[in-house]
């Protein structure tokens, strides 16, 4: 079947390769910018953000280049595109054009045909996704490193989009998109309908999964007392953490977004001392909910395993339909 696989899918393989090359080129340019700025500002010497000079230059770096996190946002649709344009037509096109009545009556059984095609495309998907993951990690490494040192950065490797595009999640979500596309093709039996179904199904899984990620592991919490009438006392949160929620808690454990809500009873402010007393009477403290950075791989494996399990289910269902139901 090797000849058939290449002949029928060579265009798709070349599109994948081209996309990879274009992304790599784009990311390489970003890498050049980041790497040279990183070196120019000698940020390599800053192991933490404790010293004031480091803190300033690190923050400046992030302020200037943090948008690069978002420049790769569009790559999040790549798995879906793969599922829609490569997974969905796999079976649907043969059903639509009737060629399955030709190719399934040659010398190979439907099962062998299905397995060979899916395996070939899955391997290509894994290789391409892994390559892209690695390239993204390499290209944005300086930024990721800086975000890993700062306290409470707004974007880092635990947040979307970096989390979904590095590690193993990109590989797993791409395989999932392919699988759900193939299944959609066996159900819808026409390419267009299969593509729509793939888009809907992929979004229906990927979006909730991403939204659920903060709570996959019970987040850590940290509190700190409020001093001096200011709410700039932050709890001790490890650098590079993913901050989920920030606010205020009182002695009863009630939660407030803003100090003005929490300490409403203490307003108007007569004197800072009186304000401090009032606040400590209420038992208010600042409160942060976060995921520490050392949970990166744990969360990666969890999300990837979910995608992986769903892929397996989708492919088995698709195989069953091909073997037993298209008859």
């Amino acid at each position: 079947m090797r000849w058939l696989l290449w002949r029928q899918h060579r265009f798709e393989m070349m599109c994948i390769a081209l996309t990879l090359v274009l992304c790599a080129a784009f990311l390489s340019l970003e890498h050049l910018t980041l790497a040279s700025a990183f070196a120019d500002r000698s940020l390599g010497q800053c192991a933490s953000s404790s010293s004031p000079s480091c803190q300033t230059s690190l923050n400046a770096f992030v302020n200037q280049f943090g948008s690069m996190n978002l420049s790769i946002y569009w790559m999040l649709i790549l798995p879906a595109v793969l599922g829609i344009f490569i997974g969905a037509p796999l079976v649907a096109r043969e059903l639509e054009s009737g060629t399955f009545r030709f190719v399934w009556v040659q010398g190979v059984t439907r099962t062998r045909w299905f397995v060979a095609k899916v395996a070939a495309l899955a391997v290509a998907t894994v290789v391409a996704a892994a390559a892209l993951s690695v390239i993204i990690s390499w290209a944005l490494a300086p930024l990721i490193r800086v975000e890993g040192i700062l306290l409470m950065p707004s974007l880092n490797s635990l947040t979307t989009p970096l989390f979904d595009l590095t590690g193993v999640v990109l590989i797993a979500s791409s395989v999932f998109a392919l699988s759900i596309g193939v299944l959609a093709g066996t159900l819808a039996r026409t390419s267009v309908l299969a593509m729509l179904l793939t888009l809907v199904a992929f979004a229906a899984v990927a979006v909730p999964l991403d939204m659920y990620r903060p709570h996959f592991l019970q987040p850590e919490t940290a509190t700190a007392a409020i001093q001096g009438g200011s709410n700039s006392n932050l709890p001790a949160v490890p650098p590079g953490s993913w901050v989920l929620k920030m606010g205020f808690v009182d002695a009863q454990g009630r939660w407030y977004d803003l100090l003005s809500e929490a300490a409403g009873a203490c307003l108007p402010i007569d004197s800072s001392a009186a304000f401090d007393r009032c606040i400590s009477n209420l038992g208010l403290s600042t409160y942060v909910e976060y995921q520490p950075p050392d949970r990166f791989w744990h969360l990666q494996v969890a999300q990837a395993a979910t995608y992986g399990g769903l892929s397996l289910v989708a492919l088995m269902a698709a195989w069953w339909i091909v073997r037993r139901r298209i008859a």
């Binding site: 079947m1 000849w3 009545r101 009556v105 040659q106 010398g107």
Partner: protein, 296 residues
């Protein structure tokens, strides 16, 4: 006679619609079997059951004693299928289709097919979608014959071909099987061309087999009779009436004779294949009371 394809009470249902019912057949090895009937009668269903594209709802079908749908690895090397509208990969050339066939089949007579395509002047390096209907049909047939299967199944292979293409197609088919013991099973809703090529007949209508038998025997046992209406009851009690169309003046019918017709008042004529098929189909139509598509 060994039966290469056997069915027992075979039936196929799609949702609430029975496409084939209670089909019990033994198809002779080495024969050229014609499956005739109106559109929608169940021809395609039966043929696709033979090659394992469809799963029986009831009953069994075996090819060489193996079930096509359940044991595809055992059956596929022994059957070849040319589906209706001969689905080929439009973007592939004839040459690439041959490569495909060679890759996917253990037995593959590549040279013989290429020679034939050369003789028929079919361009091997043109995409199939740019070939004429007749050329596409020859490509599909060639691909089916190259498998050197025991049973070659063709679904309406002559429809949408011009007369010359039809002639060439049948010549190719007959020539290919003249030196092997290949069984051919082909369906058509055009009867006229089948008489010289086929030796076994299956008439299907209303999802049921109406007639199954050797063509020569069948034609030998059926007669068209014309005679006076008064003598009709006597005749119809002695012989099987397939279809009678009386006018006020005379009785006309196609009957299957039991013995000889001795009464000299009857004109007895042999039936052609076309007349025979029409009679059986008319019988079905009048029984079911529903209008059927006209046979050409």
């Amino acid at each position: 006679m060994t039966a290469i394809v056997e069915t027992k009470a075979l039936a196929k249902r799609y949702g609430n619609n029975w496409a084939l019912r209670n089909c019990t057949l033994q198809l002779p090895q080495g024969g050229v079997i014609a499956l005739v009937g109106p559109n929608g009668a169940g021809k395609t269903t039966l043929l696709q059951l033979v090659v394992g594209l469809l799963r029986p709802t009831e009953g069994t079908i075996t090819v060489n004693h193996r079930r096509p749908f359940d044991e595809p690895a055992a059956v596929l090397p022994h059957v070849a299928f040319v589906a209706q509208d001969r689905p080929l990969y439009g973007g592939l050339t004839a040459d690439e289709h041959l490569t495909l066939g060679r890759q996917l089949n253990k037995k593959w007579a590549d040279d013989a097919v290429r020679n034939r395509f050369g003789r028929l002047r079919i361009p091997l390096d043109r995409k199939v979608r740019h070939l004429s209907g007749g050329q596409q049909a020859q490509v599909a047939l060639g691909l089916g014959l190259a498998k050197q299967a025991d049973v070659v199944v063709l679904d309406e292979p002559l429809a949408s071909l011009d007369p010359l293409a039809r002639q060439e197609f049948l010549q190719t088919l007959m020539e290919a099987i003249s030196e092997t013991g290949t069984t051919v099973l082909l369906s058509s809703h055009i009867v006229a061309e089948l008489e010289r090529t086929c030796d076994y007949l299956l008439i299907i209508a209303d999802a049921r087999i109406q007639l199954a038998g050797d063509i020569e025997n069948t034609l030998a046992t059926h007669r068209r009779v014309i005679g006076p209406l008064e003598s009709w009851p006597a005749l119809s009690s002695l012989h099987d009436v397939i279809f009678a169309s009386h006018t006020p003046r005379q009785a006309t019918a196609v009957v299957r004779v039991n013995g000889q017709i001795f009464d000299p008042v009857w004109e007895v004529h042999p039936v052609t294949l076309e007349e025979l098929v029409l009679a059986y189909l008319s019988r079905t139509q009048s029984e079911s009371g529903e209008p059927k598509e006209a046979m050409t």
